[in-house]
């Protein structure tokens, strides 16, 4: 059950906040109660976070719940989809009991197909040039600033990366996107699809160095059963639990429970 995180005290060292006289920072509540507890209240406002995980671990669902919870609080939320069509995404979010169609109708929750933007910008090559990337960033900046977007999810940097040839171009894209979003005080989740092998957070290996935080989703095995787990690997600007939590996708949203260790190492 979602409990106060930190069943493992060693995984939860006090740092910064929590000491008397520490600076209070503005936080963006994810709206996922247990994740907010893991993050001591939420993601530092304006941070860019990598949501890394293999197929079927709940990355998109986490991103969608983050946006819907934000839209409910009056924060305009934008989903930039690279792979899934808007209609299919709407169908997916409709399974959430807390989702109201009204959020889409009144513009609190905006879903944009990135390929549609790319087509409008006239990108007709498989591989994006430096100029194309520049135009794409400008288009995103325009949407974010004109709509006053406070939360953004890009799903996924991996799919976008297939059209960007060089690692330094991805690095440059993310650096500039991060700057833009930070200036707009917009908190963002960048989805990264990875293979199940441990130790990697992105396909190219450049994204994790740029982002402010990494939330890793993966499957783990115990006694033959597969458990879907979440771990906050890094989060600049705030202390956080580094423990593993088992994650469940439910109609009322994502629920987390401490990953039980049973006094010994977990079998991966």
């Amino acid at each position: 059950m979602p409990s106060s995180p930190g069943t493992d005290p060693a995984a939860n060292p006090p740092a910064g906040e929590g000491y008397s006289g520490s600076v209070q920072i503005e936080r963006c509540s994810t709206g996922i109660e247990a994740l907010d507890a893991i993050l001591y209240g939420g993601i530092p406002r304006g941070n860019m976070i990598l949501i890394a995980g293999s197929v079927g671990t709940g990355k998109t669902t986490l991103g969608l719940e983050f946006l819907i919870r934000g839209a409910e609080r009056g924060e305009r939320s934008l989903f930039l989809s690279v792979t899934e069509a808007k209609d299919k995404l709407v169908q997916n979010v409709s399974s959430f009991e807390f989702f109201r169609r009204e959020l889409l109708d009144n513009g609190s929750l905006v879903m944009v197909d990135l390929p549609v933007i790319a087509a409008k910008l006239g990108f007709d090559r498989d591989e994006l040039s430096h100029e194309d990337i520049d135009l794409l960033l400008r288009a995103i900046r325009e949407i974010v600033t004109s709509l006053g977007v406070r939360r953004l999810v890009l799903d996924s940097i991996t799919s976008l990366g297939y059209r960007i040839a060089r690692d330094e171009q991805i690095r440059d894209f993310l650096l500039r996107l991060g700057e833009t979003l930070s200036e707009a005080n917009c908190t963002s989740l960048i989805v990264s699809e990875i293979s199940p092998e441990p130790g990697r957070y992105s396909t190219r290996g450049v994204e994790e160095a740029i982002v402010d935080g990494i939330i890793l989703l993966r499957n783990t095995q115990r006694l033959g059963d597969i458990l879907r787990v979440l771990q906050v690997v890094k989060m600049r600007g705030t202390p956080h639990s580094r423990a593993l939590y088992v994650l469940e996708l439910t109609p009322i949203g994502i629920l987390l429970a401490p990953h039980l260790k049973g006094g010994r190492a977990v079998t991966e």
């Binding site: 059950m1 069943t7 059963d225 009322i252 429970a257 990953h259 039980l260 006094g263």
Partner: protein, 194 residues
């Protein structure tokens, strides 16, 4: 009459209590039915509480058939069924049950309980774990201890009444020791009947 005595003991417990309910293996059917009567029917009808029944010993469909015989309304009970999948009993799916693939997926059991507590909020919900012996068959003692410790503490925080069913026999000594560490008291059904 154990059923009346059990009901009386449960009614006097403070909110957030965790109780081990010990059933004698030799009189299991009688004791089990008395516990179901006292919790699902009597306590449920008096207070209108929602009971979350964690089925590990028998499938939810079986427990539900007993509950129906006791006239327990479907909207007063939900099941977390952690045994049907293992028994390949998929065709018995109940609308008021949620199914966990394995009794070893202890965190998922915790999360389904949490889901149902949020879904059916009540100032004093009842959670029945049936049973600690069955969980012990599938889980190492260290893992089971950790599970019970976290689960019961969370349920205490939510003011829920937790009943952990335990069948007493010679093999269950370690389970009983484990349970004694986490519950507030034990109701020995065999002693009540005397």
């Amino acid at each position: 009459m154990p059923q009346a005595d059990i009901g009386e003991r449960l009614r006097t417990l403070p909110a957030g209590s965790a109780v081990a309910v010990k059933l004698d293996a030799r009189e299991y059917a009688d004791h089990y039915f008395a516990v179901l009567n006292a919790t699902l029917r009597d306590l449920g009808s008096e207070t209108g509480v929602h009971t979350i029944y964690v089925a590990v010993t028998s499938p939810a469909a079986f427990v539900w058939s007993l509950a129906q015989a006791l006239d327990v309304p479907a909207d007063r009970i939900s099941f977390v069924d952690a045994i049907s999948h293992l028994m390949m009993r998929f065709s018995d799916a109940l609308p008021n049950a949620t199914y966990v693939e394995s009794p070893r997926a202890l965190e998922e059991i915790m999360l389904r309980i949490e889901y149902l507590l949020r879904r059916f909020p009540h100032p004093r919900s009842v959670v029945v774990i049936d049973s600690v012996n069955s969980l012990a068959i599938h889980n190492p003692p260290e893992l089971l201890s950790e599970f019970l410790h976290i689960l019961i503490n969370n349920l205490k925080g939510r003011q829920a009444l937790t009943l952990v069913l335990e069948t007493s026999d010679e093999q269950a000594a370690s389970v009983e020791q484990l349970l004694n560490l986490v519950v507030d008291e034990t109701i020995d059904v065999a002693r009540l009947g005397r």
